[in-house]
Subunit: 421 residues, 2 copies
C-alpha cells in the first residue's frame, strides 16, 4: 500500500505544529531541508535587528549595556534555552562559538582529571565526529604537550559500538556529539554517560545537532559538560553565538583558561588579578557580538508555544516518512541509507550516500530543494518540525526521484565545487 | 588670552573632517565622548543589518556562505582594516573577541619562545593594562603550569618608564596596550619593539584604543603580534568581532591552540586530523556571528575618505583644546590630568581623576554629555575625529564646569552604581 500525496496532506491537517511555520520567513519556491546547518529566519528577527541597531546602539549607545540589558544577555538567553536541553536555572550561557566553548569545557575537564586522576591521559571520540571537535582536542593537547605535559592520546572509535571497549582505565574524557552530523545517529545520553562514569571518565557532549531537534536531558543524564550551537535547529541566525553548560558539581572547581573580563567575579573593579565568578558565568570570556547575540532570542522564541516532546513526535514522523518515501520512489537508485532506522537512535536528519552525492545535491538546490552535502558522498536532509511540512517531504522525494530518473544531476554545472555547499 | 566659543566655531569651519559626521546617526541633544568604549552608529548599518537578516539569511539561507561571501568576511574585512594599522595585504583577520585573539597570539608567542628560548619564562605587562589582557595571560599560564609546564611569571610594571629595567634576560613576551585605556598614554611602538627585540623578547600589542584613533604602523615597527577591537574607534557595532595580526615571519611557525574548522587547510574535506592553513587564516577558529561581523564593514567604510594622518591631526587638536579649556574653566576643582600633555605620548582620550569621578560622570550623562568612568576615580573623555566637533568640546567643558561649580553631582541618584557605566 503506497504512500500518496493525499496521505501527506492529511498528516499536515492533523499536525499540531502546523501553525508554527508562520513564524518563519521562508523564501517562495524553496523546500528548506538544511535547518541542521543554518536554521530559517524567524520573521521577528528583522524588527529585532532594527531595534538593536537603531535604538540600542544608535540612541542608547554605551548606556545600553545597562538600559538594554546587554550585560545580562548570555545568562538570560541561557535560561531561556535551558528547558530545551534539560538544564537547570543559571546553568547555561550563550556566548562565543561552539569550537571555543568546547575548548573551555575540554580544558576544564582535562584540568579536573589532571588533579584527580593524573594517569588518565586519553580523550575518546569518534573518527566521524564533527571535525572541529577533533581539531580543538588536538590543538589543546598539542599545546599542553609542547609545554611539558605528559603525552595525551586522542583515541578515535569508528562506530558507537566500539565505545565500551575503548573505555580503558586510562581514559580521561569522552567527547561525543550527541547526534552525529554525518549519519544522524543519536547516542542514548543517559546510558552512555553512566557507562563513561562507571569507567572513571568524564563526558563532554556536543549538542550542535540536538538542541531544538531532539529532547535532551542534561541534568537527568548527569552529564558533565556540554556545548552546542544556536544557529541550526534553534534558528538564532548565521553564526549566532553558541551555548555552554556545566554540571553544577563541576562549575566552581576549576578555571577555564579563556579567563576574560566577563567571567571575572568583579568585572568592573578593574583589578589586575583574575578571580572567576561563581557558577556558569566563569565560562564567559570577552565582549560578545550584541547584534548577533540578541537575535538568538528570536530563534528561541519560536519554541514558545511547544515543547521538545511535540517536536520529537513530528520529527520522527517526518524522518520516517522521508525514509519510507525514498524506499518507495527511488529504490532503483544507488542510495545507501546511513541513518539509523531505529527511531531511538535517530536525530532529526536523514542521510544517504550516493556515488554522485555532490552533483545530486546541486541539482536538488537548482530545483528548489535545499539539503546539504558533506564529503565524501553524504547527502544530508534535515527536518525541522517547526517549519517543515509533510507535503514538503513528499515534494522533495518527488523531485529527488525525478533528478535521479532523468540523471539531471549529470550536467557540468552540478559538478563544480565551491567553497561551501 | 582665553579660548572662546567663537574660536571653537572657527575651528569647526576650518575642519577638513567636519563632513564625516554626517555618516553617523547621533542622538539629538547628546555630546558623545565615549567612542573609545563603543563607537557611534554609522547610518549605513541599519540598511546593512536589514539586508543580512532579510535577504542573506532569510532568502539566501545556507547558500549565502557562497553567494553573500560570508566565508571570506574575516579576510576581506581584515584587508579593509589593514591600512588603518599599517598592516600588509592578507595579514589581518576580523574574528572572535579581543580576549580570545589575545589568547591565540600569546599562546603562539609563548610556544615560539618555548621552542627557541625555553629559559625565558616571564611575561612583562603593565599593572594598569586593561585587566582582561592580564586575566588572559593568567588563564593561559595557569593552565600550562597545571599540566606540568615550568613556572611562568607575569611581571607587572607600574609605569612605562620601568620597562627597560623589567626586560631581563628571562623575559619571553612583552604584552602591552599601545594606548592605555585609563590614562591614554601611548607607547612609541617602533622604539619599544626595537628595545624588546634587542633584549630577546617578542611583542604582543593590544590596539583596542589605537585602531582608528591614532596612526599605527605594525609592519614599520616590525611588531610581532597584535590584536584589537572594532567596536570602539572603528565603529563596528556593540561587541563586534575583533581583529588579529601576526608578523608574516611568525605566521607559519606554530599552531595557535584554538584550532577550529575555519583555520584548517581544507575546511570542507572533513578530515579528522587538523592541519592549519598557511598564513593568517590559521588564526581563525569557529563559525563567526555573521550579522555582527557584517556590520564591521559599515564602521570601516566611515574611514573611506580620510586617512590616519588627518584623523590624528584633528584628534590632537580636540584633546589639546579639551585640556586647555578644562584648565581655563575648571581650575578651581580637584581635577588631576592623568593623560600625557606631550602629544607624542597621547592617544585620542583625555582622563582626569576626581575624588567624586563616578558621580560627576553620572551628572554629565544626565546633562547629555557622555564620557565614561573607570575605577577608581577616572573620568575618561574620548574624542572621535570622525564625529566630534570643536564646539562639542566647548559645550562639554561648559557643562562640566557648571556641574562642578554647582555641585550638581552631589545628588543621591548620581551615586548609585549599576553594572556598567
Amino acid at each position: 500500500m503506497s504512500i500518496t500525496l493525499q496521505d501527506c496532506q492529511e498528516k499536515d491537517r492533523q499536525d499540531p505544529l502546523a501553525a508554527a511555520r508562520d513564524q518563519f520567513a521562508l523564501p517562495e519556491g524553496v523546500i528548506y531541508l538544511d535547518g541542521n546547518s543554518l536554521g530559517a529566519q524567524p520573521k521577528a528577527a528583522l524588527a529585532r535587528a532594527s531595534e538593536v541597531v537603531s535604538y540600542e546602539w544608535g540612541v542608547g549607545l554605551i548606556r545600553s549595556w545597562n538600559t538594554a540589558s546587554w550585560f545580562d544577555l548570555p545568562q538570560r538567553l541561557g535560561n531561556k534555552l535551558a528547558r530545551l536541553i534539560g538544564a537547570g536555572e543559571d546553568q547555561v550561557v550563550v556566548t562565543d562559538t561552539t569550537s571555543i566553548n568546547l575548548y573551555k569545557v575540554l580544558a576544564a575537564a582535562l584540568r579536573q582529571q589532571a588533579a584527580n586522576a593524573p594517569t588518565r591521559r586519553v580523550i575518546v571520540s569518534e573518527r566521524r565526529n564533527f571535525p572541529t571537535d577533533l581539531y580543538i582536542a588536538q590543538g589543546l593537547t598539542e599545546q599542553l604537550m609542547a609545554h611539558g605535559a605528559p603525552a595525551f592520546e586522542l583515541r578515535l572509535i569508528d562506530s558507537p559500538e566500539e565505545l565500551p571497549t575503548a573505555l580503558t582505565d586510562d581514559v580521561s574524557v569522552v567527547m561525543l556529539t550527541h547526534v552525529n552530523y554525518q549519519t544522524g545517529y543519536m547516542y542514548n545520553m543517559k546510558e552512555t554517560t553512566a557507562l563513561v562514569h562507571e569507567r572513571g571518565a568524564l563526558t563532554v557532549w556536543d549538542l550542535a545537532h540536538s538542541a531544538g531537534a531532539v529532547p535532551v536531558d542534561l541534568v537527568g543524564a548527569n552529564a558533565d559538560y556540554a556545548v552546542g550551537c544556536t544557529y541550526k535547529y534553534l534558528n538564532g541566525g548565521p553564526g549566532s553565538p553558541a551555548f555552554l553548560w556545566v554540571n553544577p558539581v563541576h562549575q566552581n572547581q576549576f578555571w577555564q583558561p579563556l579567563s576574560g573580563w566577563w567571567g571575572h567575579a568583579r568585572p568592573f573593579a578593574m583589578e589586575p588579578g583574575y578571580e572567576p565568578q561563581k557558577g556558569i558565568s566563569r565560562y564567559l570570556c570577552g565582549t560578545q557580538p550584541i547584534t548577533s547575540l540578541s537575535l538568538v532570542e528570536c530563534g528561541l522564541n519560536t519554541f514558545a508555544n511547544t515543547d521538545m516532546q511535540a517536536i520529537r513526535a513530528k520529527s520522527l514522523a517526518l524522518t520516517s516518512l522521508f525514509i519510507e518515501l525514498v524506499k518507495q520512489e527511488c529504490a532503483d537508485h544507488p542510495l545507501t541509507l546511513i541513518t539509523p532506522t531505529d527511531a531511538n537512535y535517530r536525530g532529526s536528519q536523514v542521510s544517504y550516500e550516493h556515488p554522485e552525492g555532490f552533483a545530486v545535491v546541486q541539482a536538488l538546490i537548482d530545483q528548489g530543494v535545499i539539503p546539504d552535502y558533506r564529503e565524501p558522498r553524504n547527502m544530508r536532509f534535515g527536518f525541522t518540525p517547526l517549519y517543515t511540512s509533510f507535503v514538503d517531504v513528499w515534494e522533495s522525494v518527488r523531485i529527488l526521484k525525478d533528478i535521479l530518473d532523468t540523471r539531471r544531476w549529470d550536467q557540468p554545472q552540478f559538478h563544480r565545487r565551491g567553497a561551501v555547499t
